[in-house]
Symmetry: C2
Subunit: 332 residues, 2 copies
DNA sequence: TTGAAAGCGGTACCAC
DNA sequence: GTGGTACCGCTTTCAA
């Protein structure tokens, strides 16, 4: 079995209180006993129990993360960055994929609360807010990540999606496009914000988007493929399409090519998120990039601060997106 | 604050032992008190502390997963499937990306042990085995996932990589190719096993692979791009290339197209893993598929069994890969 | 059918 | 400097 603090204390001929102090560098212990205890710990290969520490010390050093789907490229990159930042601070992540389902959302929320995570990152739009209010009662700090809604008492770390949509819109305008389509990502509310920004941009040229020009697709390839087909077979074909995720954009490009439509010569496509697959596309995808490194960094910092000093003022950090110009948009 | 079992007991006018029993459906409690306690628990919104349960009950209901990089499409899909299966059994996952670095590998191993995870899934080749031996002392069940090496006492759940390489090789042969190149994935040993299978296949036509025909690339796009260039500029260009991961294959295809080389007309490319990006490629990537659903399912089942009955005999589950024929290989 | 009490492996306060 | 000890919140005998 795993050695306990009692085993160490006995072997070192000191009390567990003393051992605890050398583990945590607290109190005043003589150099001699510190050495002795340390040596014993090493030879026994002793490691304090995280569980016991959590129970006594009130911290689990674990952060819960709710995402729609970890296999989605955007979220797996986010997970990686969050993990990187958390690790440096000694925290581990429990990542939970809700698949846009209320029951999963709730069961994972309960799971995280039960595991007593020190903080929660919500990166998927809650479907039913009610149960989330429990988090506040529990005093667990929360960051809404990439979601900008005042759902309950949380920090917010996100990208300015209005701006992002605006960037996409004005870029396409600047490239001479006047006939657009927009594909939203079903289940993610920031699609709507991006759409709003897009509309704002084109309204400056007195253009508007009719409902027929707005499509919505789940983040699955099959669904995206169907939407792509219906856009491309529509008689009033747009010259440029704004897709609210790179994945949808890639599928659209692929489908266009299958139908003999040249991208970007005959059809321009712009994505959103700048995930790795944007570079893998042919033509490489022009897209709106979110500053995910900075988002992740701020998120973890914010949470760790909130953990150590509860009652910190809630923050709202909004970073700016940026156009990533590649090959999928042409002059019209 | 979070209500404790004491709060519930007091409100229900019973002892904590009784409450504990109704929580766990153990012992014999009268219907009446069960009802009473349950009602109280609901109105108080009581949830037992996972930490305390773990300390008293010896289980954390957490499984640790070591992967090279969660943002790698193969591993994010794996993570998703593992999570799915674990969730159904009430377990959460702590996913750790080692980035092929010894220090990360060790720090995460220590982290998982400290957190007292109930089991560990190792999906990245350990660089330094030594510290892993601690796991055995701790009696924590382990599955080597997609790794087939007798490192220490572990279960093994993997795909037959020899067979996989063989499938790739014989398929290319059958398509009339005789001049090959193989790109290994640096840091993953099963690349070598796949290579071995590939060599076996072509040896049946009395063909061999020289060292000059074998390349090795990290799983990063920049590196893959460099390797791709050096393959494609080599005067003795192959007619078919076997890439040990889909990502490398995609980059290779992209680079080939940039140089005006038609895929698959002038160059055939076959990948490995059948990750989502294989479908996103143009042409769509022919690849060797691993049965990841089944792998994940077996892994979690095996571990949960081992947790509940320690000392279970170690198992070695080897599943078969399968050719996924798409568009990137032509008749030569 | 219920409850008292001894752990589980630490932390932290208070004596000495 | 060091140690005794009361928790932390739950599980699990063992008695009653």
């Amino acid at each position: 079995m795993k050695p306990t603090i009692y085993d160490v204390a006995k072997a070192a001929e000191v009390s567990i209180a003393t051992v605890s102090k050398v583990i945590n560098n607290t109190g005043r212990i003589s150099e001699k006993t510190i050495k002795k205890v340390r040596t014993i710990m090493e030879t026994m290969d002793y490691q304090p129990s995280g569980v016991a520490t959590a129970l006594a010390g009130k911290q689990t050093f674990t952060i819960g993360v709710l995402v729609p789907e970890i296999s989605n490229p955007f979220f797996s990159e986010i997970a990686k960055l969050l993990e990187d930042n958390a690790r440096e601070a000694g925290y581990a992540l429990i990542i939970c994929s809700t698949y846009y389902q209320v029951d999963r959302e709730h069961m994972y929320l309960d799971l995280l609360l039960k595991k007593q995570v020190d903080a929660i990152i919500i990166a998927t739009d809650p479907i039913d807010i009610e149960p989330f209010k429990k988090i506040n009662k529990r005093q667990v700090p929360v960051v809404l990540f990439t979601i900008d809604e005042l759902l309950f008492s949380t920090h917010v770390v996100t990208t300015d999606d209005i701006k992002g949509g605006y960037i996409a819109g004005s870029y396409l305008l600047q490239k001479g496009h006047r006939n657009f389509a927009v594909v939203l990502e079903e289940g993610r509310k920031n699609s709507l914000t991006r759409l709003k920004g897009f509309k704002e941009a084109i309204s400056e040229k007195n253009l508007i988007l009719t409902d027929q020009q707005i499509y919505s697709s789940k983040s699955s390839m099959k669904e995206a493929r169907n939407i792509a087909k219906s856009i491309l077979t529509n008689p009033d074909k747009p010259t440029a399409i704004f897709c609210c995720t790179d994945l949808i954009a890639l599928v659209l490009i692929q489908e266009a090519k299958k139908q003999g439509i040249l991208v970007p010569e005959e059809l321009s496509v712009i994505g959103y998120d700048n995930t790795v697959i944007a570079e893998l596309s042919d033509p490489e995808l022009t897209t709106v990039a979110q500053p995910i490194n900075a988002l992740a960094k701020h998120t973890i910092e914010l949470l760790i601060n909130s953990i150590s000093s509860p009652g910190t003022e809630l923050q709202r950090i909004v970073l700016l997106p940026e156009l990533k110009e590649r090959e999928s948009v042409n002059l019209n």
